[in-house]
């Protein structure tokens, strides 16, 4: 993979050591005996659940197993094609076939690596001052919160191009999400223009890598059809000379290639078609699945982001300006820079994805934050293997927060596996942080409102006030009676 780096990386690579975020940590933080604290790069203290390689140049999701499968499938199939079928085709038909195949293959790999390794458009989390400022603004808007259990709705409405769009507050990142942004629960980041999280690519697909993803699946469709067609041609030509069975014996690889291509063609071509439709109407997978702009929602419902005609939409999506990364992975952490809110762990080690302290601040709220922990992700990966990316669905669709009887003003999980995740979540919660909360309150809500598909965040800041905790407990008890 090192050889292909230059295709997919934005900066020239001088040295390329695989510094995974977990293992690369020279001096432990907080040791008084170190003469000089080693200055860290920002990727080492990044709070999302991402993996970084090559000293921050490469950014991927935590679970990359399926990505390696994708690579293997493409490399093996193409390799077999070039090794076994191309010599025959080049000599009997035309050498243009391997040439075109080669160009397609390089393009596919380039786009795949670019889509997998780049920052999808992650929004950095709010600094503590920003978070406090927003909290204050919300409090002012909604009035003082009394002993009620209903947290004020954390949404803002904005009029875009004649359509009213709701901006939701992200409890993890402590920001009001821009329109079209969404929080990916697998990567634990808010991503701009979030399309979906693609396990095949091993990364989220968002504003900055959507065009690479689209070009990848488009070129892969061509490559698959190309290989399929020419392998069939090869086998037919050989069969004309030596008979069908003998032809298969002479080039056994062809069978494997045909099988792989046959099954891939349906899903990949289908996916390309789907994304072509999405681009031409300027929607994200997220919006399409939720039906945000469908006319079924209402007469006056239309997509305010569309430029009107599909050509402009296409050009904008594929050839528009590429915004730079907002998270500045390779920058150095300034010693006096305020660390963003809800920092899980001081060391640059693997971000502790089990324990996240939600600063409840002044509001005794139930922070309904769906947190899919380590236990949940394998399930996610499994459900996706069976089908293309589009069927995976958004990792965290944000449904309207006003559900009768429930006051959790946060994100709601609509995935089928939410119950399973819930149990995993509880299990981890109890195991990891026995000292943080008394366990019983955490156990109550999950078990009782599975039907509502809501996950209140049972993780509290250990430094929170007693009254805060008391109110939260009261809130949870109230929930359990719903």
């Amino acid at each position: 993979m090192t050889g292909n780096m230059h295709l997919g990386v934005e900066e020239p690579i001088r040295e390329c050591q695989y510094n995974q975020i977990c293992t690369h940590n020279s001096s432990p933080m907080g040791t008084p005996h170190t003469k000089k604290k080693k200055i860290k790069r920002k990727w080492q203290v990044f709070q999302g659940r991402n993996k970084f390689y090559c000293n921050g140049r490469i950014m991927m999701a935590k679970q990359t197993g399926v990505f390696y499968l994708t690579m293997v499938l493409i490399l093996v199939t193409s390799g077999l094609f070039f090794a076994f079928d191309c010599p025959f085709l080049a000599s009997n038909l035309t050498p243009a076939i391997p040439a075109i195949g080669g160009v397609l293959f390089i393009f596919v790999m380039g786009m795949l690596l670019r889509a997998s390794f780049s920052d999808p458009g992650v929004l950095p989390r709010a600094t503590p001052e920003e978070a406090a400022d927003i909290e204050r603004q919300i409090d002012t808007t909604n009035g003082p919160s009394g002993p009620g259990y209903r947290p004020p709705p954390r949404t803002r409405e904005v009029l875009i191009n004649g359509q009213t769009v709701k901006l939701k507050y992200c409890f993890t990142c402590k920001i009001f999400r821009p329109p079209r942004a969404s929080h990916c629960s697998l990567c634990d980041n808010c991503v701009e223009r979030f399309d979906h999280h693609c396990p095949w690519v091993g990364n989220c697909v968002g504003r900055r890598n959507y065009r690479f993803f689209y070009l990848f699946i488009l070129s892969l469709s061509f490559l698959t059809i190309f290989i399929f067609a020419f392998v069939i041609t090869h086998v037919i030509l050989r069969s004309n000379r030596t008979g069908f069975l003998s032809a298969l014996k002479d080039s056994p690889a062809s069978v494997l290639e045909v099988v792989v291509c046959f099954f891939s063609v349906w899903s990949i071509v289908g996916l390309s078609g789907f994304h072509t439709y999405l681009i031409s109407s300027n929607q994200t997978t997220n919006e399409d699945i939720k039906g945000s702009w469908s006319s079924k929602r209402g007469k006056g419902n239309y997509n305010p982001y569309s430029y009107g005609n599909f050509i402009t939409n296409f050009c904008a999506a594929l050839c528009g300006p590429l915004p730079p990364s907002l998270i500045d992975r390779r920058g150095f952490v300034q010693p006096d820079t305020p660390q963003p809110a809800a920092q899980t762990n001081g060391t640059g080690a693997c971000p502790s994805n089990q324990v996240q302290s939600h600063m409840a601040a002044t509001n005794p709220l139930l922070h309904s934050q769906t947190v899919i922990l380590g236990g949940g992700t394998p399930l996610q990966a499994k459900t996706s293997l069976g089908g293309p990316c589009s069927t995976l669905g958004p990792s965290q669709p944000s449904l309207p927060s006003s559900i009768p009887g429930l006051s959790c003003g946060g994100e709601l999980m609509a995935l089928r596996d939410s119950e399973i995740h819930c149990h995993h979540h509880l299990h981890h919660q109890h195991f990891i942080s026995p000292e943080e909360t008394p366990s019983p309150p955490a156990a109550l809500p999950c078990a009782t409102h599975l039907g509502h598909h809501v996950h209140p965040a049972q993780l509290f800041d250990p430094a929170s006030q007693d009254s805060l905790h008391e109110d939260s407990v009261r809130g949870l008890v109230k929930l359990s009676s719903v």
């Binding site: 709010a126 920003e130 875009i160 821009p178 329109p179 223009r193 982001y305 528009g320 300006p321 998270i327």
Partner: protein
């Protein structure tokens, strides 16, 4: 005697508070900041001046994200060279961001620092907010 601060002096001054100018999404997802004048700055700076600064920033960001012949050309060229062209060349967006950084520094030096304020480049806050730090005004009989 009014004490005016230079940019260096501000580093030592105490931070009184911070004001955040949020994004304005009424034009869609493009980067644009609200021009509404924050109440906390009323005593410090002229409303006109502040609005002019924000408006200039908005115009610069709009130029960075503008769809047009130039951006399409850049996009197509990049695609044809498999995006390797960006190893040698900066994108238009990055060029504009550099321009913005220079503009903000210039504004800080000329206008905001003498008033005890400091603008933070929005890119350092993920283009979410324009952070304005208000420093304690220790001058006696200040303006």
């Amino acid at each position: 005697m009014a004490e005016t601060h230079s940019l260096q002096d501000l580093r030592q001054a105490a931070v009184a508070s911070k004001v955040f100018v949020q994004r304005d999404y009424t034009s869609g997802t493009i980067c644009k900041f609200q021009t509404k004048f924050p109440a906390e700055l009323e005593s410090r700076i002229d409303k006109q001046q502040f609005e002019e600064t924000i408006q200039t920033l908005n115009n610069l960001y709009a130029d960075a994200e503008k769809l047009g012949g130039r951006s399409y050309l850049e996009g197509c060229l990049a695609c044809l060279t498999a995006y390797t062209i960006f190893l040698c060349m900066e994108t238009h967006y990055e060029k504009v961001l550099k321009k913005i950084a220079k503009y903000i520094q210039e504004q800080n030096e000329k206008i905001y620092a003498p008033l005890g304020l400091l603008l933070t480049d929005p890119i350092e806050r993920g283009l979410r907010v324009v952070e304005i730090t208000i420093f304690e005004d220790r001058s006696i009989g200040s303006r």
